[in-house]
Structures are given as structure tokens and as C-alpha cells.
């Protein structure tokens, strides 16, 4: 704690409570999930870079095919390329759907597979037995912390260039992926797997970064002065909470910790 000043130490000595060092995260990136292929899916996701290099991913999405597994991935690259989510114009073959191959030029290659357990590399991109399953209402709730050693190089540095894509739609409304809907998945077939419905591999949502926040919120105010000089200049301020400011002395005595 070489940076801590005596002014900051004093209140802690007066109230010698011992706190465990808080788990710290570097920053947290917010993602807004929007529907692809008229899936009706919407949701939010966060990617939080932990101090130890781990990445915590949370996803809350609704409108997915109920009781069905949904392959989901972080897409993009750690080289400064800023991919975007595709729109319907990416439907090059004009079949009315942006399939996985047609979306890849926009949202980039699979960067991390968001499985529920085990491997998270690109190799697990279609490992549907380890992908989250939507509940009976079509909701997917996902949370996983992926170890630093398992993340591609540059993940944290380029976190804000990445996207999240969820797959799996039901175009013929029979609550399952079947060949009757859109036929066989050309994407799976290109990887050497036959008989997979295109419904299972077509994108259902794509999420782009919508904001970012601090990874860890400090408690209370910041102790940045000891009253040893007069502050310079004449302040021109928007003063908020005027009455609260007048009452602050009382409140400060009641809640000393937030003042340190």
C-alpha cells in the first residue's frame, strides 16, 4: 500500500476493521443481443476482465427455441479488426436467412466457444451437448469464468472488439430443429458432419458492444486532500444535494467507512 497516505490510513486506525482485499476486475463490457433471422431473440451479455486475466461471461437472452441447445460463441479477432453484426443484406444466396457462413465475414470467426463445461476453443464451436439449453420459456441464462490460460492471446486487450453470437432458430414453428424447416446445415456439412438441420446452426442473435464500466466499483468517496492549503481559484460548480451536504457532517459520523 505504498500509495496510501496518512490521511487515508487515519480513519482505518480509528476503526480497525479488517476487510479482505476485494476481488478486482479490470473492466466490464456490456453487449446488447439483437435478433437475427427474425428469431425474436433479445438479451444482454457482459464480459468482465478479471485482474488475474480470467474472463467472466454472463448472458441473459429470451425468445430462443425452448428446450433446445443453442450453440453460442464470442466472435471476432484480437488484432484490432472491428467486426459488426450482419444484417439481412448478408444473405448472399437470397434464401431469406443469414446462415453461419454468410454471417462470418461480418462478425468474424469463432474466438471462444461459450460452452457450459470443458473446452472453450473454436474446436467446440458445435459441441451442442455442452452448449446451454433454453428453458421451457425459451430463456438462456449463462455464466462462466474462463481461465486466462484457456483464452486466445489478446482477449482482454481487444475485449471491446468482440461480439457474441447465438445459434438455433425454428422457422417452421414446431419447437425443434428439423430438416423440414430449412434442410441440412451447409455449415455442418462443410465440416464433414451430415444430417444436421440448418435450423440448428443458423444464427439467432448477434450482440455488439454497447457500453463499458469499471470492473470493480470503489466504496464511497476518494480521500484526496488534507486541508493543508486553500484550494486554488474560485469554484464554479453544479452543487448537488445541497441539504444533504448540510447534513453530511452527521451522516459522516454515522458512516465513517465511506469517508476513508
Amino acid at each position: 500500500m505504498r500509495l496510501r497516505t496518512m490521511a487515508a490510513v487515519a480513519p482505518m486506525l480509528a476503526f480497525p476493521l479488517v476487510f479482505a482485499a476485494p476481488a478486482a476486475a479490470q473492466e466490464s463490457v456490456q453487449i446488447q443481443l439483437d435478433a437475427l433471422n427474425k428469431s425474436g431473440v433479445s438479451g444482454t451479455a457482459t464480459m468482465t476482465a478479471q485482474d488475474n486475466g480470467d474472463l467472466t461471461v454472463t448472458i441473459n437472452a429470451r425468445g430462443l427455441v425452448p428446450n433446445a441447445p443453442h450453440a453460442q460463441h464470442i466472435h471476432g479477432a484480437a488484432n484490432g479488426t472491428d467486426f459488426m453484426c450482419p444484417d439481412q443484406s448478408a444473405d448472399k444466396d437470397g434464401d431469406g436467412f443469414v446462415n453461419t457462413e454468410e454471417g462470418l465475414p461480418d462478425y468474424g470467426d469463432i474466438f471462444v466457444s461459450l460452452t457450459t463445461s470443458g473446452d472453450t476453443s473454436k474446436k467446440s464451436g458445435l459441441a451442442v451437448d455442452r452448449m446451454p439449453k433454453a428453458d421451457a420459456n425459451g430463456t438462456v441464462t449463462y455464466r462462466r469464468t474462463i481461465k486466462a490460460a484457456e483464452l486466445p492471446a489478446g482477449t482482454v486487450k481487444f475485449l471491446k472488439d468482440l461480439h457474441i453470437v447465438q445459434h438455433g432458430i425454428d422457422v417452421n414453428d414446431n419447437d425443434k430443429y428439423d430438416l423440414e424447416g430449412l434442410g441440412e446445415s451447409t455449415f455442418a456439412k462443410s465440416l464433414g458432419v451430415s444430417g444436421i438441420p440448418e435450423e440448428a446452426t443458423n444464427p439467432a442473435s448477434c450482440g455488439m458492444v454497447s457500453g463499458a464500466a469499471a470492473g470493480s466499483m470503489p466504496a464511497g468517496g476518494v480521500e484526496t486532500g488534507d486541508g493543508s492549503t486553500e484550494p486554488g481559484g474560485q469554484p464554479v460548480l453544479v452543487i448537488l444535494g445541497g441539504l444533504a451536504a448540510a447534513a453530511a457532517g452527521v451522516v459522516l459520523r454515522r458512516r465513517p467507512r465511506t469517508d476513508s
Binding site: A213, P218, G221, A245, G249, L252, D259
Partner: protein, 223 residues
């Protein structure tokens, strides 16, 4: 139904996504508001060079969800506030064991909070410095005199200088610190400068308030 058999760990080809494919914008600096409007209604100085128009919506293509210019992540190394004649190095600040933010150990240095986005990148970057310490005026002795539109320059390790414009300067009791407004999620590259202000509580040897200057990125220079 999809059956798991035969689908487990299917390899996906590399190189499926050529960078620079049609429709991929050259950078994320797609939009830039022509001056930031503050909550108090004041308007920041407009950027000094032409502002690229917001990318027109093409079909149903999702629009960029962030606003204004943003830079890649890069650690800050120096802070300049021309109107306050501030020019100082920056050290990293973490959290103290009680969960409060560390502060610089001397009056002449400012620190950036390392558990938040780096200045110029998307999100709220945070810089703190003393208003005074050990009988000396601190780097932020006159922070409360900043006006909307004043510029704040942060030189970064990648050689770029992120130029911010002040949008609003506020004072809050420390026990009612606006944590969410300072550290919470925002859709642009922001900067918050923090010091102490208000009455000095001699019994507690502590200022009762924090002064927070909010700013947003308006342009980037390279030096």
C-alpha cells in the same frame, strides 16, 4: 432434433472471416457528436476537425451501439489540463483493503484507476489527485474551476493523445458519492477527474465532499 453424437467438438475452419470484408468499417470511430451536451445544458467545444457523419443505416443493418470516437485500450502515461496549467505523470491506483480507491502518495502526482477502462477507450476512465497535501497545493487544487468545454489531454503508451472536453463539474458529499455515474457503464469514451472539495472537517481531517469533473473524448492526436 440435433443429436449430440457426431457433433461433439467439430473443428471449425480458420480463416473463414477475411478482415476488411465488404461492410466492415475501417474503425470503430464511426460517429462523433458535435460537442457534448451537459446535464446543466452547457455545450462543450466542438471538435476542431470535421466530424464524420453517423454511418447511414443500410437496410436493417444494426447501427453502432456506442457514440463518439473510441480508441483501443492503452495505458495512460501523462495528464495535461491547459486551462489549469496542469502537466503531470500518472501512476496506477488500485483498491485499498477497505474497498476504497488508493490515492497518490504526493501532491504533485495524479493517478488513474486501473480497474476501469483506459482513457480514450470505451467506458469511464478515472483519474484522481489531491487538492492539497502536506502543505502543498495538489495537482487538482483548482479542479473545481474547470468549465464545460475545457480540454483535458491524456497521453497514452501507444503514442496517441486522447483529447477530452469537460461536460460538467459536480460536487457531492463523500457519503453520497455518485458511484454509478462515475464508474458505471456508458456508451462513449469518458473521463472522470476526482479530488476533494467543500468544507474541511478538522475533527476528521477530511474534506466532506468530492469534486468530480466529467469529460468525454472529442478527438485524438498523435505526438
Amino acid at each position: 432434433m440435433v443429436t449430440a453424437a457426431g457433433l461433439v467438438t467439430v473443428g471449425v475452419r480458420a480463416g473463414d472471416a477475411p478482415p476488411g470484408a465488404a461492410g466492415v468499417p475501417p474503425s470503430s470511430s464511426v460517429t462523433a457528436s458535435a460537442g457534448a451536451t451537459t446535464s446543466a445544458g452547457a455545450t462543450a467545444a466542438p471538435p476542431s476537425r470535421p466530424v464524420p457523419p453517423r454511418r447511414p443505416g443500410v437496410g436493417t443493418r444494426p447501427r453502432e451501439l456506442t457514440t463518439g470516437p473510441v480508441l483501443p485500450t492503452s495505458a495512460p502515461v501523462r495528464l495535461d489540463i491547459p486551462t489549469l496549467r496542469v502537466s503531470t505523470g500518472l501512476i496506477g491506483l488500485g483498491l485499498q483493503p477497505d474497498g476504497t480507491m488508493e490515492v497518490p502518495g504526493d501532491a504533485a502526482t495524479a493517478g488513474w484507476y486501473t480497474a476501469a477502462p483506459t482513457p480514450g477507450s470505451l467506458g469511464p476512465a478515472v483519474v484522481a489527485a489531491h487538492v492539497n497535501l502536506d502543505g502543498r497545493p495538489g495537482v487538482f487544487t483548482a479542479l473545481a474551476t474547470l468549465r464545460p468545454g475545457d480540454t483535458v489531454e491524456v497521453a497514452r503508451a501507444d503514442g496517441t493523445v486522447a483529447v477530452f472536453a469537460i461536460t460538467t463539474v459536480q460536487r457531492h458529499p463523500k457519503d453520497r458519492f455518485p458511484t454509478e455515474a462515475v464508474y458505471g457503464a456508458i456508451d462513449h469514451a469518458g473521463l472522470r477527474l476526482i479530488t476533494c472539495g467543500g468544507d474541511f472537517d478538522t475533527a476528521r481531517r477530511s474534506y466532506r465532499d468530492n469534486v468530480v469533473a466529467f469529460a468525454r473524448l472529442v478527438r485524438t492526436e498523435r505526438r
